[in-house]
Subunit: 509 residues, 4 copies
């Protein structure tokens, strides 16, 4: 098998730290120095594409092309996921409408509908209004499609047969006796599979420097598991010398799920984890600045200030620790911005050296593969890893959550609210206690409070509810307020996107 | 230009009369006798595919292949339409949420959301619940995606520039002064166009006998205009000797819209209209039987009974008259079923001969192209047409509607309910009086009452409301109760569709 | 038994024609000329009191006192009705919440909640939101309390035992087999009766000239039956020489229900019906003017114009005919306003004389009883009546409705919409076909269109739905758009009502 | 002024400990030993009357008569409160409907509607559905009428002028600039006052032994302030030698509000506080039993077990401490039940004696006034009090709440949730920081968790939100889950209440 490299990051600013760009640049860099490399990248959601954050193709000389198609609905996978998801939703209300032979408790239904857009008006809706021909009124909602359990299933499944079985296991709620009701019970798991048969195939694109890239599965590691797919990685490690895959946001979010959900499922063991960091994110963690999405950085952040970088180092150190807790060798990639100063890069390097971690300055945006050769070499030279899971399957659910909270996030402990307590007890009764944990938590802080930077200590993680994704195979605790459907800003990217008469697309990035 | 042939039908049974099968068979038959032929077929909606009626690929030896992909989301067009449509929906609520600078009157909004499924629970919903972060509560609904104005635009547009302009002209409601608010005002027409850029290209498939077929635009001529696209037809008439296109349901529904909306837009003039009829539909119009979707035919309908066929002839005669009213030469295709009797075909032929209309028995399902050679020759030999529109652009709206009601449907007149009166007055004030009419009416009767068979006289057409599709370029009166979102049956096709471990799809047809 | 006089009116302006004032003045006038008289008056609703129309105590020197208490919640009857009504509403949702042992079909429930206010926001609501502890979501609504069936029961019942039985018979909807579900089934008819035990007693007040007046039952004869109570009338005809009772709005509305519902129930036969008319209402029926509630009369209406009065006479003639159709002797009361002219009164008198109807000019507002002595004498001298019902109990429901439409309203016939057809068939099946009819129709026209004045001919009455008030004992067809819950105006009377520091109430009238 | 005695209790069982019965018995007992006494009792709500708990007239030989009228809507006060409250509700939606000149932020509206029934389906509703004529859709709810701020105003006001002013000060929400919108702004405070003018008068009834009793204001001290009225008490202390008034539930609930809200408003200082206790409640606080409303007591509770009584003494001691914290002399009334044992009374007496508190066994139910003479003497002989408020007006809001939590409830501290923090900051900005606190907390525990008995320590009080009742003059923090609208049980009292043909009421108690 090829070398298996995960690209992750420190706790990012709301603007992102260039993780995908680094991944693409690193893949290109490895190619330049003679290694057959495959990049495994996630399918963008049109929510951010039309929202504030924009597309997810990388940037500058480290991009997946054609960028426009990549960022829109090239692969059709998200549409297939949406329609398969919504077919199950329709089947639920249809079943109740036609007499509810399964005796589904309508208050137990956790299966929302989805749309791959930021549409806050759909977060909380009442469906089934207008009288008997339209079914029974019910409070429900829509999530963004990438947060669908069907996406998680697609990311974790291994083949068509497993896909069919997982879709059948999806639990949409319970009957009035408290027993789980599944997609199989509702008789649409077959049709869902048929809708997803092509989506199961990773889409092959390439980077600007012709490195092959699999596009498969989706983002949003804060509210989903947010990793690229097992199928793509399995293919890539067999085809290439190096397979570089991506785990969303910081190591507490995407990488923790990469280790404990995805690698647990696939059996693959990562060799290296690249932690992408930037001068600006280090400065943010100093606590001296406030960064807002859609606005330029505060000018004070752009002044040369290596001490401030050092002040923000606690966050980086924590992320290094998280990687090491899983037995994996970290490499720090310092993603260069034009506004950086040499002294600031040095300050980051100093932190790494104290910690005994390899590092490289990389410049994928301006330099493409050439700008990432140092990083490529650091990755190749990394010490061997000895991967270990954070918790065994049979640890009780509460303890699993506590272990993540304390050993990954740095919390003192966990408070389970009443609803969460009941959820866990019920799930353990239903025999789901052995499943791994997929935390829904903000990606903007190591804690559950997006305003807290650095590496906070002396706090407690609140768990409000726990949901169950039985088809995907994990339990999903909600830490603090986490929205599964974003909203559009007052001036979203969609306003700037247009098609010129000559067919050129403008405004997409 | 090639010969331009429209395939339409008499008022069908709920099972359909094999219009697409005849179209494919006819195209194959023309090929067999040496004519380069192109079929222009509509993209199926997943609503019927997973519902009762099933797919729309034709059948037997007269099919478009690969049938499975054709019936699912092969082209992705319906997904592109759905997401473009829903992006505009999200933009509306987002605009109001961020202060409503355009002063949109929330009660005036007619732009629903869409999903390409039968989901009755979404017909009538309340969105925007859950407090200020989720926007303002509003009564709204979902339509099936094929009924979207975006689909109508895609079917009627001619190029990317026109597509962009039409999307911008979509009217979603009015401001508090009663002025129209458009997609352009909401600044998302550009992004919608970008989403649709690939959908504008017709998809090229082939039939079992290798006749090329363009797949483009969508069905549901009862609640939309339901014709295949202008772009596909324009291409086909330039490439081939014969272009065969399809207009949904009976001549009162699809063909009337084909003539007065689509041909008005494209400037193309049809040469022949093939009216597909069947023994069973003729018998239904005798008024002696009741046919129910999802159930087998009443056995009494299968007995030899040419007199009953003759009793049901009034409906066929009316459809012949509708075609002739537009100056077009009709040809009647008697679509053979294995349960037919020779004497019954003869009875239909007798009706045609009295009317002076050419006819042929065709057998596309069992015979493929070979079974349609007679029909092919009848089409080629048809007298030349002299196409004329039913009404000029500048006829007042009420008169246009009355002309359709009396000269096409055979009504004595029209009753405009109060809301419809107000709608028409408002539209004429807003300068939309010159647009053609796209009636929303049941396809199961020449009248607005689906239970009335034959060719009813002495009745009045009620118009409840009139909607405006300014981007598509028509006004949409609702005649009687017309639902823009179907529901699933208690045992829909979706239950039978599955994927076998070897990758075979079962249950799709 | 004493003489039994009903006070009714021609089709009124939105301002009302002084029916209650005339009633009080007539009662006072009869007293002045030596006849023991009792007035039976309806309890005002706080909807109009706080809305536009104001109180219902009469006016000037012909008032019930204390006016303030009379117009507010003196008797408490409407509160008792509201709480009894709403207890049944709560019992319905509670029953479903606790398992729905009666198998109530939630879509069949016709029993709304009530409040005695004009509150348009409550017309259409969704109740039962917020999850399982709050019951099942359901589309429902609130009516104004005077429109409650409980009010109708109170008006038509004869004693506590009958009240108990009628409350038990109230039908709130059906079970899933289509059988009626009653208040008795829901086990709260006893508690409802206990709540109403004091409301069953008429409240005794007096007029400014010390004529005794029973206050009992409620108004809104357009959407309810709107007559004063059987109990009060039965008492009064036994105590007094003359009992004067009131039937709301025109003879087509209140008097028709007085005859065919109330007298059918009580067995009492009226001796005289006083038709109150005014110069301004006659002028309105000429069709020359438009009167708006809350605005002053158009000045042109105040000019001397006896011809215009004559032009509006068709309406009065029709009302005279309606009274005579029931075998009752009409007397026309010309209620004088200070803006009237002698010649205009003469014009009305001429109409009456041609019709052979006794008449008198009365001036209750300025003259009190003295101003109504002529009217009093005309009533005493009226020819004897020979009362007959418009239709027998066993006439089929459709025919009863048609008879009212054609013989009372002057329509050519009735169109029953589909829902109404189903309602009637179901009610006849359930054995309710023998009940009398309580039409819900606008009081502002003899037709169902409030904008049509005079005595229209050549029209058809549309019946949308039919409701069933089995406890009250009638069927309730809805003719056109009839709202059972009014809304407040932009400047309702409530804004002007206040309590001065000395305890004086201002703004009530 | 007469002696001013408050009757309160220890933390009760769900069945109640006979506080009203003791109050009536004590008043009768004082009468028997020669003291002119007046009882001030609260108006029952029809929610409990028709629910599980039943009426509130006392019981046995210590009752207010006529019990039936007392428990139903004798005084009409709750109806007047309901209609005045709902008039303001209607005015809010009407104002928005007519253009929202005050620019009310619909999401800020905290003024619900009310009904005096247990109707869970109304807890959470959407109003204003059905299109423009019905106003704007809005999420809202209904509270039980006794929880209305109008009830609190009626209880705390001193005269008509003050009533008028307080109603005008009611804050229903804010405008979009965050400024308070009042009933005065909405112009209906005058009409509301007029509706309440008679309700301001206490209703005079009597007990079975002819002790006069004022019935005024309402219960539900858990979600409202739940004390009898200032007006009634002011009258009674001027008329009688002794005025006995009632504060709902335990001293932590009703008495705390009596001291810090009612006495702060009236300026009256209590002389004695009678703490009613029972053997069964003492046993419940041992933690050994679970008592459920609507079910008989566990048989084990009825066995002689003085040790268990002693085990539950911590709760009583805490209540004694709460009274003393306010400088008032407590007297413990041991309300005898037939199932008690002498030794158990002795156990309670021992607790009192250790605490130095006077006590008496009383038997109002079986013995009437005679059974309460000991208690009467204990009250008369009580040491003089030196009343003091728990906190000054100008203590910051958070500190007031913390003082109640720690010094009254025995909590370690308070956790203010985010919403509560914002509420308090906003209220202090709006100048409402000087108002006293009216906690909404369960009455079934000294803590916020109804399942915790005894006198818990080592816990923290969570405050979710804080509401503002500016007309009543207090802030209303919600501690834990507190419902302002009860629901009916599966077999509520309403099912047993009926009216026999002879007019007898059965089933009320």
């Amino acid at each position: 098998l090829g070398k298996y490299v995960d690209v992750t990051a420190i706790t990012p600013t709301p603007l992102g730290e260039g993780k995908t760009t680094t991944l693409v640049g690193l893949a290109q860099g490895l190619g330049r120095i003679g290694h057959k490399t495959f990049a495994c990248i996630r399918q963008p959601s049109m929510g951010p594409t039309f929202g504030i954050k924009g597309g997810a193709a990388g940037g500058g000389y480290a991009q997946v092309i054609p960028m426009e198609d990549f960022n829109l609905h090239l692969t059709g996978d998200l549409h297939a996921i949406s329609i398969a998801h919504n077919l199950l939703s329709a089947a639920i209300d249809n079943h109740i409408h036609h007499g509810n032979a399964l005796n589904i408790n309508p208050f137990s239904i956790t299966w929302n509908r989805v749309v791959d857009l930021n549409d806050r008006a759909l977060r909380s809706v009442i469906v089934g209004l207008g009288g008997k021909p339209n079914g029974y009124p019910r409070e429900s909602g829509f999530d963004i499609a990438v947060a669908s359990e069907v996406m998680a299933i697609l990311a974790l499944t291994t083949d068509l047969k497993d896909l069919r079985a997982r879709l059948g296991r999806i639990v949409i709620g319970t009957n009035r006796s408290g027993e789980a009701v599944t997609a199989e019970d509702l008789k649409v798991a077959g049709a869902m599979t048929v809708l997803l048969k092509d989506a199961l195939q990773p889409t092959l694109l390439q980077t600007l420097e012709h490195t092959p890239a699999f596009i498969h599965a989706g983002p949003f590691a804060n509210i989903a598991h947010g990793n690229s797919s097992v199928v793509a990685d399995e293919l890539a490690v067999r085809i290439a010398d190096v397979c570089i895959t991506e785990a969303g946001f910081g190591t507490d979010i995407g990488a923790e799920k990469f280790f404990n959900i995805k690698c647990r499922a696939s059996g693959l063991a990562p060799d290296v984890a690249v932690i992408v960091t930037t001068v600006r994110s280090m400065k943010m963690h100093s606590g001296n600045h406030r960064i807002r999405p859609g606005r330029p950085l505060p000018p004070a952040m752009l002044e040369e200030n290596p001490d401030e970088v050092t002040d923000g180092a606690a966050n980086l150190r924590r992320h290094i620790g998280i990687i090491r807790r899983h037995g994996v060798t970290p490499v720090v990639a310092i993603n260069r911005f034009t506004t950086d100063h040499e002294s600031e890069h040095r300050a980051i390097a100093d932190v790494c050296e104290v910690e005994g971690v390899a590092w490289a300055v990389s410049d994928p945006h301006a330099g493409g593969g050439a700008g990432c050769e140092d990083l490529a070499r650091a990755v190749l030279d990394a010490e061997p890893s000895s991967f270990e899971l954070l918790y065994p399957d049979d640890l009780p659910v509460r303890n699993k959550i506590e272990r993540i909270a304390t050993e990954v996030y740095g919390a003192d402990g966990v408070v389970f609210e009443t609803t969460a307590q009941k959820d866990i007890d019920r799930y353990e009764e239903l025999g789901w206690g052995d499943l791994p944990i997929c935390m829904a938590k903000t990606h903007l802080s190591l804690s559950h409070d997006p305003k807290v930077h650095g590496a906070p200590t002396g706090w407690t993680l609140p768990i409000r509810r726990v949901q169950a994704s039985i088809g995907a195979g994990f339990l999903l605790p909600l830490a603090g307020e986490v929205r599964r459907m974003p909203g559009l800003a007052s001036h979203p990217s969609a306003f700037d996107i247009d098609l010129l008469p000559d067919g050129t697309i403008v405004g997409l990035s």
